[in-house]
C-alpha cells in the first residue's frame, strides 16, 4: 500500500493503522515522489491525498493513468463537495473518501479495492505456458481443456498469474483471496494451493513453493 499524505500527523496515523491491519505500507509526502513510486505498479493500492506540495493529487492520479498504471487509487481529501468527488473520479481514481474519516471505513474500502483488483484495467487473459485464465469469463484452461475451479481457487490462481515472476507471500495471498489480513491462518493458503495444483494436473508444477516464504509462478519453468 502506498500512502501519499503531506500532513505528518495524518500520515503517521495512516501508516500505523494500516500496518496494524497487516498491510505493508510505504509513505511519501509529495506528488512527484508518489508518482515515481506508484509508477512501478507494485502496490496493491494507493491512498492519495488531494492537497500536496507541487503536483496535487488529481494531477498525480491523471498522470499515473496516462502512464498506464492501473493500481487502484483512493483519493483522500478535506474537500468533499460533489464537484470535488466527480473531479477525482474523472481523474482516474477508483474511490474518494473525505476527511475526517472513520478508519474502519477506510480499511473496508481498501479491502474492497484490492479484492476488486485491477480487472477493469487488465487484459482479459492471463497465461503461462499451457495455462490460460480468462478473467471475464472465469474460465481456466490447461492445453485448451477447461479446468473447473472454485471461486477461491480461481482468485488464487488469478493473483499468482497476475504477479507472475514475483514472489508472493502467504500473507499477501491470504489478503487478496480471502480479503482479510490477520485472522486467516497461513496454512489455509497451503491447503488451497495444494487443491489448485491437483486440479491443474501437469501445469500445477508451475506454481512453485518458495520455502518458508510463499509461492511464485515463473514463465521460465515452462518446459
Amino acid at each position: 500500500m502506498l500512502i501519499v499524505e503531506d500532513d505528518p500527523a495524518t500520515r503517521d496515523v495512516l501508516e500505523r493503522g494500516l500496518r496494524e491491519e497487516l498491510f505493508r505500507v510505504d509513505a511519501v509526502a509529495d506528488g512527484a515522489t508518489a508518482e515515481d513510486r506508484a509508477a512501478s505498479g507494485s502496490y496493491d493500492a494507493v491512498v492519495l491525498d488531494v492537497v500536496l506540495p507541487g503536483e496535487d493529487g488529481f494531477t498525480v492520479c491523471r498522470r499515473l493513468r496516462t502512464r498506464a498504471v492501473d493500481t487502484p487509487i483512493l483519493l483522500l481529501s478535506g474537500r468533499a463537495t460533489l464537484q470535488d468527488r466527480v473531479h477525482g473520479l474523472d481523474a482516474g481514481a477508483d474511490d474518494y473518501l473525505a476527511k475526517p474519516f472513520a478508519f474502519v471505513e477506510l480499511v473496508a474500502r481498501l479491502r474492497a479495492l484490492t479484492r476488486r483488483g485491477r480487472t477493469h484495467h487488465l487484459e482479459a487473459v492471463l497465461s503461462c505456458g499451457p495455462l490460460e485464465l480468462h478473467q471475464q469469463d472465469h474460465v481456466v484452461r490447461v492445453d485448451g481443456a477447461v479446468v473447473a475451479l472454485t471461486a477461491t481457487e480461481f482468485r488464487l490462481l488469478e493473483y499468482l498469474l497476475h504477479r507472475a515472476e514475483a514472489l508472493v507471500t502467504r500473507e499477501e495471498l491470504a489478503r487478496h483471496v480471502w480479503g482479510e489480513s490477520a485472522a486467516r491462518p497461513s496454512n489455509i493458503v497451503d491447503v488451497y494451493v495444494s487443491y489448485l495444483r491437483k486440479k491443474l494436473g501437469s501445469a500445477g508444477r508451475l506454481v512453485r513453493t518458495v520455502r518458508g516464504l510463499g509461492y511464485t509462478v515463473r514463465k521460465g519453468d515452462v518446459a
Binding site: 496515523v13 492537497v51 478535506g78 476527511k99 478508519f103
Partner: protein, 229 residues
C-alpha cells in the same frame, strides 16, 4: 476581502477554513479510533494522548488564524505592543521553523524594535516558512534573511534553493482567483501571515524579479519618539 473575488469572499474563506480543519481532525479521530480498537499498554495510551494533544494544539492555532483572517480589524490584538526583532527570529529558529530552514541576519535585528506582538509576528513568519519548506524538494533550503534595517522599517527576504516558482505564493497576490483551487490551506496559511503583518503596519510582497518566487516582508519599526517616551 479582496482575495478570491472569483467566488464570494465568504465562500473562499469558509472553504479554506473547512479544509484546514479537516486534516488535523482526521488525525485526531484516527488516533482515537486506533487507541480504542484494542487493549494497549499504558505507555501506548500515553503516546496516543501526546499525539492527540499535538493535533489539538494545531487546531487551536488554526482557530486563532481563522479569527485573524475573518476580521478586517485587529480583533486579536496582533499589533499590540512592540517586539525585539531578534527575539522574534530567535523564537522560530530550529525545528519550529521546519527542516532545511536557515535564518540569517538575526544579529542585525537584535536591537531593532518592530510594531506587533512577538508571538503573532513569529506566527506570521512561521506560516511563511512552513509554506516554503512544504514546497521545496527534499534536500532544498529555505532562507529567511534580514535584508535591510532602515530608520522606519526592516525588510526581510524569504528565498528558497532551488527557487520556488511564483505560483507557490499566488495566495499572497491580491488579484489571485481561487476558483477551483485545491489548495485552500495555502490560502489560509498565507492569508493569515499577510494579515498579521498588515495589522502591524507592514506588508508582504512577492518578488517577480530575478529571484522569482522570493518574498519580501516589511515590518514597521517602532518610532524613535516612542523609544524616548
Amino acid at each position: 476581502m479582496k482575495r478570491g473575488e472569483g467566488r464570494s469572499a465568504v465562500e473562499v474563506f469558509a472553504d479554506a477554513a473547512v479544509h484546514a480543519l479537516r486534516t488535523p481532525l482526521a488525525a485526531v479521530s484516527g488516533e482515537v479510533e486506533l487507541a480504542l480498537r484494542r487493549e494497549r499498554s499504558p505507555e501506548a495510551y500515553r503516546d496516543a494522548l501526546a499525539r492527540i494533544g499535538q493535533c489539538v494544539a494545531e487546531l487551536i492555532d488554526l482557530t486563532a488564524d481563522l479569527a485573524i483572517l475573518g476580521s478586517s480589524t485587529d480583533v486579536a490584538g496582533v499589533s499590540r505592543g512592540a517586539s525585539r526583532l531578534g527575539a522574534v527570529l530567535g523564537s522560530i529558529v530550529g525545528d519550529d521553523a521546519g527542516a532545511g530552514t536557515v535564518i540569517e541576519g538575526g544579529a542585525a535585528g537584535v536591537d531593532v524594535d518592530v510594531i506587533g506582538d512577538q508571538a503573532f509576528l513569529a506566527r506570521s513568519l512561521r506560516l511563511l516558512l512552513q509554506h516554503a519548506t512544504r514546497h521545496v524538494p527534499p534536500g532544498g533550503r529555505v532562507t529567511l534573511r534580514v535584508e535591510r534595517v532602515l530608520h522606519d522599517r526592516v525588510e526581510l527576504t524569504l528565498t528558497a534553493s532551488p527557487p520556488l516558482v511564483g505560483q507557490t505564493w499566488r495566495h499572497l497576490r491580491e488579484d489571485s482567483d481561487e476558483s477551483g483551487d485545491v489548495n485552500a490551506a495555502g490560502l489560509l496559511r498565507l492569508g493569515t501571515a499577510a494579515r498579521i503583518v498588515e495589522h502591524c503596519g507592514g506588508a508582504i510582497r512577492v518578488d517577480n524579479g530575478e529571484a522569482a518566487g522570493s518574498v519580501r516582508i516589511t515590518l514597521r519599526r517602532v518610532p524613535a519618539e516612542a523609544h524616548g517616551a
